[in-house]
Subunit: 150 residues, 2 copies
DNA sequence: CGGAGATGGTTTAATATTGAACTATCTTAA
DNA sequence: TTAAGATAGTTCAATATTAAACCATCTCCG
């Protein structure tokens, strides 16, 4: 068997794994999103609140890094959260370029109640895998995801 | 150790795997998208062309199922592909509710050239994993993704 | 000091995305 | 045959998303 065939087979395996990875992520997201929608939150809005909840106040740039979104997008997501009174913007005194995003009392209450429920829903989604399989999946995904830095 | 602690540990594992799954999918997508953008295509547009290329003409509903998008979205994606002359809509004679989407000669040429290059890029993205690991990742993802039907 | 360049955020234009309301068409059953 | 219900597609409103242009601010020299 020549390298040409070997290369083709390798490519099929890579494509197949890639497609299944994407489908899994999309399927799980799609099944989880309605859960958040009931609380009137989009996935990004939830992600932002969750980051602020677990990491404390962040500037928009750091928030963007955490939820893997562009600067322009963060402006809009924070805009919408601010309109609903869930977060507030505070211009940093030391360096006036930075805007720190803080959870309001209302926002903290919402995410504090929602997060445990959402975590439960995620556990339900992943329940088809055993503990060992979850770890295996996590470690494989981590390597694929981090490939960028290589 | 009581069930409470066991349950919590299980939840942490599930959350951790979930986050890594999402990150991996987003990271790979983000690294792949610029590749398509060079050809002036978005991920959805590429997905639609690729489905038509490998499966033949499809009605919009089937196209939506293939690329996991809503009906309203398909209308727009096909609109934009049609504007660029890559696909054409044909109203079905037998049942006039259906619109069949066909690749044009231009569209077929584009996806025919682009697909192999894109597949190569995907292989590069997945190259951190061995063949066996790719299969393992694929099978775990498949089970998580298909959980919906359960 | 003062300009050059870097950095954080906003705005804008284009496309994506969904759910819901709506139109057109088909099917079914009374 | 015809009215009711199902189905395919479109439209609309809202938000997401990005890249690029842009403004404000800061830092670092010279």
């Amino acid at each position: 068997m020549g390298t040409r065939h070997k290369g083709a087979s390798r490519e099929v395996k890579a494509l197949d794994a890639y497609i299944k990875l994407m489908r899994a992520a999309e399927s799980v997201s799609a099944r989880l999103a309605p859960h958040l929608a009931k609380a009137g939150l989009t996935v990004s809005q939830f992600g932002a609140l969750e980051a602020l909840y677990h990491l404390g106040p962040l500037c928009q740039r750091d928030l963007g890094k955490k939820i893997l979104k562009s600067g322009g997008n963060i402006t809009m997501v924070v805009d919408n959260l601010e309109k609903r009174g869930l977060v507030e913007r505070v211009r940093a005194e030391s360096d006036r370029r930075y805007v720190t995003v803080n959870l309001t009392k209302t926002g903290r209450k919402l995410i504090g109640e929602l997060f445990p429920r959402h975590a439960g829903a995620i556990r339900e989604e992943m329940c088809v895998l055993s503990d060992a399989e979850l770890e295996k999946l996590g470690s494989l995904c981590k390597r694929v995801g981090l490939k960028a830095k290589a």
